[in-house]
Symmetry: C2
Subunit: 418 residues, 2 copies
């Protein structure tokens, strides 16, 4: 993409109405735009990151047998009444609206009811199980506080997967596979080292659930980590009894703030019973399906990366989720410089490398500031000086290290680093 054509621009000033670092950086760099509190547009650069995160999640869900579908935002009142969750007293973040010909409908804040009701059409026998189904679909949550940028919003895409098993043992087997897939996701998007599988409350559904918590000052949660084993516990269930149960010592536990980037949840028969999702076992007896749910918000993951991997100059994207792999920065507009920079742009893109090409007529300082703010992993500078030297400079955005590379080695060198 030629930057001269990109319709967004960076801005120097922080937005006045944002207190979160992720929103500040992402807005200044032109990745997102605030429409109202907790409601953000993903601009072209931001959408590229979001899509890369979603594709990594999709890949991991497919690997454990997840089947992708797309449910609806508009939700039937009747279905939610059967599980007792239609009332605003039970779910306090509902957005509701009405049909023209009468009748209330909800905007999905989650999809347990919808998927359970849907599967009653397809599950009859134990032979139809297990099933794992997932989607990327917008959730609407009427958040009273929405001051954390894209970490907590009123409208966001969620990857939610649901598992359906004949019993708890079969469920547990899948649950552990899902936990591994989640760990893979966080490793692949670059926050694995700071992310802990964390014991958390199972709410009304089960004794425990597991959260994936990324250590970060901007987090809303407090967790305790045992550095040696990597085990972590959410403060809400942090008791002496649990520490004993897990054979952890209080003095080894480190308290830290963290962002919940994902969670996995045993649901048991909480939804299958009221919605009559049952199967016939080998004796022909009807048994309610044993369920689990598994959520990741790709936008929250993106916001977390912005929080934990950025530096004082701006965003720092891991190559796996960066909007582009290379930021080609042309300095000066002499014909020879333009010609060679254009040539490199064609060379790299034709080799399947994603390039943001700063072909704008701006001063070097402005270009470098923009480049640091946007945070593409590798910067390649083309100027009269580098052409004369016959060696081009690659700069690693993460650590600032520079590497001289000849024209002939350019593609290989970049591919090695992506």
């Amino acid at each position: 993409m030629r930057q001269s054509l990109l319709f967004t621009k960076t801005r120097k000033e922080s937005p006045k109405d944002e207190v979160s670092k992720n929103a500040d950086l992402l807005i200044r760099a032109g990745f997102i735009r605030k429409e109202m509190a907790g409601v953000y547009t993903y601009l072209p650069l931001g959408l590229r990151v979001l899509n890369k995160i979603m594709n990594i999640i999709r890949d991991e869900m497919d690997k454990i047998g997840g089947q992708e579908l797309l449910m609806t935002s508009l939700q039937n009142k009747e279905t939610w009444e059967k599980t007792g969750r239609w009332s605003d007293d039970v779910i306090d973040v509902w957005f509701k609206t009405s049909l023209l010909h009468g009748g209330e409908v909800g905007l999905a804040n989650t999809h347990e009811e919808a998927i359970t009701d849907l599967l009653t059409d397809y599950v009859a026998s134990y032979k139809d199980l297990p099933i794992a189904a997932y989607q990327f679909q917008t959730k609407f949550r009427n958040e009273p506080r929405a001051k954390s940028g894209i970490l907590r919003t009123r409208e966001f895409i969620m990857k939610d997967m649901y598992s359906f098993s004949i019993d708890e043992a079969n469920f547990r087997e899948f649950y552990e596979k899902a936990a591994d897939a989640y760990a893979n996701v966080f490793n692949r998007v670059g926050i694995g080292e700071k992310t802990y599988r964390t014991f958390a409350s199972g709410g009304s559904f089960s004794k425990f659930s597991d959260e994936f918590q990324t250590e970060c000052e901007a987090g809303e949660d407090i967790i305790y980590i045992d550095n040696e084993s990597g085990q972590a516990i959410n403060k809400e269930i942090y008791t002496d009894e649990l520490l004993d149960e897990l054979k952890l010592k209080k003095e080894d536990m480190r308290e830290t703030k963290a962002i919940e980037v994902g969670n996995i949840f045993p649901l048991g028969t909480r939804f299958s019973e009221p919605l009559k999702l049952v199967y016939k076992d080998e004796e022909g007896k009807e048994v309610p399906v044993y369920m689990g749910s598994y959520g990741i918000g790709p936008g929250r993951v993106m916001g977390t990366i912005a929080e934990v991997l950025s530096d004082e100059k701006g965003l720092v994207w891991p190559a796996t989720v960066a909007p582009y792999q290379v930021h080609l920065v042309r300095l000066g507009d002499e014909p020879q410089v333009t010609e060679i920079a254009d040539e490199f742009y064609d060379l790299l893109t034709s080799n399947g490398i994603e390039v943001l090409y700063d072909d704008r007529d701006l001063r070097p300082g402005e270009k470098f500031n923009d480049s640091d703010l946007i945070g593409v992993p590798i910067r390649l500078v083309v100027s009269a000086k580098t052409i004369a030297a016959g060696e081009y400079e690659l700069v690693d955005r993460q650590n600032g290290k520079t590497f001289g590379v000849s024209e002939s080695a350019l593609v290989d060198e970049i591919k090695k680093r992506c």
Copy 2:
């Protein structure tokens, strides 16, 4: 995908609450599920088709310089009040809801207001134009009638593109490019021959707009086509004066029902003026931006394909949008048959061919009926008989023609046909 693992199943009976052919076929084949009138879930097979249609559209929009973003469903009342379109008397299909801390918000039924307001952040000078930006985002429309399956729904993904030009001449240049891109989309998804660029009313925005209308009995529109030139006119503006203007003769015009699968629309300064999207021209004078909008509903396209390309046995997908390219049907469960069918499944998938593998233990008649209903372009049968013959049967779903092919020629023969 092994069909034994696919969680959806086909059904023999038509759904009782559907009157449209597309919904009947798509529900029976397991592509969609009805959640309420005008609200459908896309099941795994259906989502694959929808994604392929979206990817074709994306490719064509990118080719004409469209930049993809993702705007929000929740809409600011204030922005829509400025254009006079917040009132239910002006837009009669609004869904509205409220924030917990007070204040009404709308669910986007279209995004002209949102994109115009957004671009006020990025457009300052004539040098910033032209811009074309598009998204795939859910629209919510409170339709009073929703009886046409996925042709007209209350919630649907729309590809909406908006163009921003310095003046009408520049706008027209892009508009014709977009019209060509639209024609390419309909050709690529297999309905080009039945789809006509059609003069239609410009509503309150301009004298004319252009609709892309696909000839079909299920259509809600009536158009008149001049077979020789391919020109078409929507009934709503079909007058003797217009025929004269276009040098068309009434006696040459054929009346037909049609589905509006896309439309492109001059907007002029209808939105840029009230929302103050202006640029400074070369003399420094402020001028409102000249806009256009360009819409396709991928779900409606999918429904149209289901309407016009299906036959009495079921769906017939063009290879470009089919959920899978090959339906591998194993007949019998003798070890040798299973072994060779498994082998073919691995062979084809490892060659990048998308295969639905019917590995279920069902009678041949049931399998063939399912296969016809689902409508994958090529069927490959593996049975004791075909193994003995050393020649495998490829069946073309569209015309029923069969081709014998040896194992060694299988991959090449299939790739040639996809």
